[in-house]
């Protein structure tokens, strides 16, 4: 076993933390260094109690943790697909129970920052008699690690990576180009799609619960900023889809502005449910549309930026984090609409500038 643990450490854990050092560093900075050092314990204590006391906020936190877990699984599966890591496939020779323990251990190590914070939350929950919230966290963490280990167990022991047999959606109507993207989600990334939407909607609902004494659309926009940023996984899969399966379309007579508009339509369709949720929650149609436009512009900007060089997950993630912070500040500063329009214009310009000159890393294949 020690030899296997060493392999797991080298291939999965070390690489995971290396690749996500920037993201984790940023989160760590936001969580622990933006607050005055003298108030940091009080701040986190109050934050944890507020989360434990509100079921919706707790759900929001679960959503964020779940996305982190999905990210870990994606990373582990990506490692598995690399030819130099073929040794991981040999784990299938172990008994299923041993494999399960090994994968759960690996996931726990990668999940450690969340696990430590959630342990503090559990202690506080039990100390302040918030038993239901505390038990929910315990159950959620045990469930999420087990589910992840089960997923890895399935991936390594079978040729087909998909374990969730949800029926595929097939519509008979003529499919315009933007629907090719949506089709990818409803056929290949159903769970990711569903979780992203849940997270996004919870973001909106969570922020709209904050008590204010007047009509304030910025609360919904702030929540939606978390929501559309959470679409990063979908954006990344769409870009991979373009490189692998839609590359043929580059030889077709489509004007660059048509391609941009079609991509915009795909993102507009993707974010349409959130627009509906905002209206259903009492936001005016105009304000909901501004939020929707902001989401579309944000994702188009990141998408358009990705053609500058071969697709790089880390670079894209960093761009997204910076843009997320800027967008958040712009919403707070009541500059949502002008910022969205500016972002859209720059996205179009960047798309036009970079699209034709782009080639995927494996174009020779």
């Amino acid at each position: 076993m020690p030899a296997l643990l060493k392999i797991i450490h080298k291939i999965w854990i070390q690489k995971f933390y290396e690749r996500h050092a920037v993201l984790l560093g940023l989160v760590f900075y936001v969580m622990f260094f933006l607050v005055n050092s003298g108030e940091i314990i009080d701040f986190h204590f109050n934050l944890i109690v507020a989360v434990l006391s509100s079921f919706k906020l707790l759900l929001l936190i679960f959503g964020i943790w779940f996305l982190y877990q999905i990210k870990m699984i994606f990373f582990f599966e990506e490692c598995l697909s690399l030819p130099q890591n073929i040794i991981l496939k040999k784990f299938e020779l172990l008994s299923r129970s041993n494999q399960f323990r090994l994968y759960a251990y690996a996931l726990l190590l990668a999940y450690m920052p969340v696990f430590i914070y959630s342990s503090v939350m559990i202690v506080i929950a039990f100390r302040y008699r918030l038993f239901l919230a505390g038990l929910s966290i315990v159950g959620f963490q045990a469930g999420i690690i087990s589910l992840g280990a089960w997923r890895l167990l399935h991936t390594i022991n079978s040729c087909t990576p998909s374990i969730f047999k949800i029926p595929s959606f097939r519509w008979k109507l003529i499919k315009p180009f933007p629907l090719f993207y949506i089709d990818l989600l409803v056929n290949r990334f159903k769970i990711t799609f569903l979780l992203t939407k849940i997270f996004s909607v919870l973001g909106i609902l969570g922020f709209m619960q904050l008590p204010v004494d007047h009509y304030e659309p910025r609360l919904a926009w702030l929540g939606f900023t978390f929501g559309f940023s959470g679409h990063y996984v979908i954006l990344y899969e769409w870009r991979k889809f373009e490189d692998r399966n839609l590359f043929f379309s580059r030889a077709l007579p489509l004007a660059i502005h048509s391609r941009f508009v079609m991509l915009g339509i795909a993102y507009a369709l993707l974010l349409l449910p959130e627009w509906g949720v905002m209206i259903a929650q009492g936001l005016g149609i105009y304000d909901a549309t501004v939020g929707w436009l902001m989401g579309i512009s944000f994702l188009l900007f990141i998408h358009g930026s990705s053609y500058r060089s071969a697709l790089d997950n880390e670079q894209l993630m960093q761009n997204m984090l910076w843009l997320f912070l800027i967008t958040f500040l712009m919403v707070l500063s009541q500059l949502s609409l002008p910022f969205s329009l500016l972002l859209l214009a720059v996205a179009a310009w960047r798309f036009r500038k970079n699209f034709d000159g782009y080639q995927p890393a494996d174009f020779l294949a």
Binding site: S168, K175, L254
Partner: protein, 226 residues
Amino acid sequence: MCWQCAQLNRPRYVRALMLSFQQIKKEYNNQLILQIDALKIDRGIHWLQGMNGSGKSTFMKIACGMIPFEGNVTLGNFNLKKNSVSFKQRISFAEAEPVYPEFLSGNDLIRFYNAVRKSDKKNSDELIARFGIGTYYKNPIGTYSSGMTKKLSLVLAFIGSTDFILLDEPFVTLDTATLEILTATIHDYHQQGRSFIFSSHQAQEIEHLPITSRLLAENQTICRLC
């Protein structure tokens, strides 16, 4: 003149656009993949020969605007970089190993190509019947064999009224019956004034085609053999 060229039976050309390459350079990771100082390809059927890795596929991908490159490619008055849409409206390409979204059906792609290439349904229906894909083209592409996918890619390449049709290894993975259909289709479309550039290692399939010229991919460049 080679024996294939001697068999040339000149058809009546509807349009006569010449495909020109000037100062083409393609590098990847600082490694030269392809360099063409000047090359003009007139109407007709052109056979691109060369060993594996000699740059045939890269040449075709450059010619159809699929990948970026240094230099200029023009078709008649249309420059690929300046008049991209007009250029691509006149040229089509079928890859050696086509990759399409596996959850889409062939019908989805055919309809998409019809719309983009401004072609009518009659044209695509005729091609569907000709290549015999009618029994499966409405199924998801993920269920196709490599030969079935290849046939679909050929149908897509023939859709519309393009002047040049580029076919990368078109005879690979096809069954004998489809090989004959493809040869006959190239013949028919050539009679209608279309031009072809195709790469192939299968000399016996090419015997039946009126080859205009042979191009050789060698030493990271493309030159005319005859």
